[in-house]
Symmetry: none
Subunit: 194 residues, 4 copies
């Protein structure tokens, strides 16, 4: 009976290793060493090296989405939900900087990440964002003259780029402190008011 502990150990070790060296420059044996087990043992829990990456992302993403979903549920309206979502997106990455490194930088491996299994995981988050947008439109708080999909991509892209930039810049400032500005642009736009 596979120990869930060991599974988790491997995932956590992989996060650290991938964050440090990148996926292609990490050996399975590096992960094993970091996890304090033999490299063969990895294969009792994961079929391939790729599967580690995919599983890691799947699980972390699910956790992430669950946390965000729960948090925004407590907010009174779509605008508040949106602000909370943005703030939390940044806060969670900030608090898990190794994971942020993996997600923002290492996981952007073409074939492996964007296509393939992980697509499904990401779409869970996309759906969550979309639901907030739709709620806001229905409530008349958000404009309804734009395709939700486009709006969702614009918002996600904006947050994602903020995060990537923060990771690449060696995390030299607090990502979460930029949340309000991002929410503000997204809600009110850049144009000067007449």
């Amino acid at each position: 009976m596979p120990e869930p502990d060991k599974h988790q150990q491997i995932i956590e070790a992989a996060v650290r290793i991938f964050a440090r060296n990148g996926y292609y420059n990490s050996r399975v044996s590096d992960i094993a060493k970091e996890a304090g087990i033999a490299s063969g043992t990895i294969y009792l829990y994961f079929k391939t090296k790729d599967e580690i990456l995919v599983t890691l992302f799947r699980e972390k993403m699910a956790e992430f989405v669950a946390t965000v979903r729960k948090a925004i549920a407590a907010e009174p309206d779509a605008v508040a939900k949106l602000r909370r979502l943005i703030a939390l997106h940044f806060k969670l990455l900030e608090d898990h900087s190794e994971m942020a490194e993996v997600v923002q930088v290492e996981l952007r491996q073409g074939q492996k990440f964007f296509r393939g299994a992980s697509a499904n995981e990401v779409s869970g988050y996309f759906d969550l964002i979309s639901s907030v947008l739709e709620e806001g439109m229905a409530a008349g708080m958000f404009r309804s003259d734009l395709p939700v999909k486009t709006v969702r991509k614009v918002l996600f892209g904006a947050m994602d780029q903020m995060a990537t930039s923060w990771v690449l810049g060696k995390r030299g400032y607090k990502l979460s402190e930029t949340a309000e500005a991002v929410a503000d642009i997204f809600l009110k736009g850049l144009a000067a008011k007449p």
Copy 2:
């Protein structure tokens, strides 16, 4: 005397091959075959496989930035420039779909791309965007109460995500037709007007 033609042949072949298989799943010999030359010939023009990727990006990016810069120079004001920039960003990727594949998907190899030499190339584009934003702020067309850097990241992130999504979705629609919606959100914001 190394022919510039051959250099270009190799770059173009590499774009096609990387777009098809991804960088790590492309053999140098694949590129050579695609270019119709012997694999050893590659090494008369590039020191390593990595250098092909980096050079490819550098040159294509420089071209891209030059094209955009020239186009927006003709526009009368910052708002027009911004709309033109967004439209062109999408149009150029649309017209070079293999390059788009490489840039949006394959090139996101952590260590190799974001860090390293390519960082400089990207920042050329970032600077261009920033200059438009600053021009608009100076002219009173854009809000001045937000950090330019943040605004720039939001815009770039939005465009980038639109592009990535389009590439991953097998380019099943016209990316350039989404340009106006993106510009609109960015300028006017999502919030419903009172």
Copy 3:
């Protein structure tokens, strides 16, 4: 736990392969096949192909010197020691003809052998020869009017050339039977006595 057996297997296989084809014309995979293992296994025991050669020489040389040292210790005086050393030098090469092939012919790779690590191993043998010479000089059995270093080189060179010539001549006679003549020339000289 890396098996010492396998280390030795590889060394012995390498001796046979190098003796047969020469270092530069031997593939690592040839050694692996000869040792009855997979070629990747070699790299669990040696970092590079070069390291096999160097290690091989180091170990065999240490063995050689130890054997000679032990044998001459039993001899009563410097002349007897010298004769024994010459006889054993030849006998040992004769009994390990593949190793002789490698040492006399293949190992004379400029950069790799003479310079570099192996220099230290050779000097162990040189020191042993020198100590016998010095003992003989101190005892008044050998002339003291000549630099020990020169005498040592002359002796070693003479033995070495005898060995090389024997190896190149396909070992068509018994090398050890020439030992006495060599010792005789070295001790008494070529000049006719008045």
Copy 4:
């Protein structure tokens, strides 16, 4: 009509290059550059890279033997001839230190040098040495109780080792100044006289 000049240029360039980097670490293109010609031109004068080495040795060796032969012809008897031969052997190497590097160190490539064509060239020198020895034996100046071949090998080996040692020791002293000691040991032997 192949220019003899170009042939010689290539040989001289090869001596310098091989002396500097060793045979296996020298590229044909290095030799070409050193000779101030295009690498393809080499192949108008030599069939292969190997042939350069072999020819180089053949020609230099022939020159060497001719010089020594002529010099000793002028000497009155076998002892004088022998002393002259030893002195000249050292002197010539000393005066052509790049060639010495090649001959003593780089040329000792098993398969390529000792066997194969070069064997013939060396034997010319061996014959010359033998002829002096035989002359001395016939004249009663040298002992006749030893096989000429053995005596010849001992002498050549002694000289060769002196030279090798001098080359490896970065030529930090004058090789030619050791000639007398070598001759002395060879003629009178090491044993103390009663």
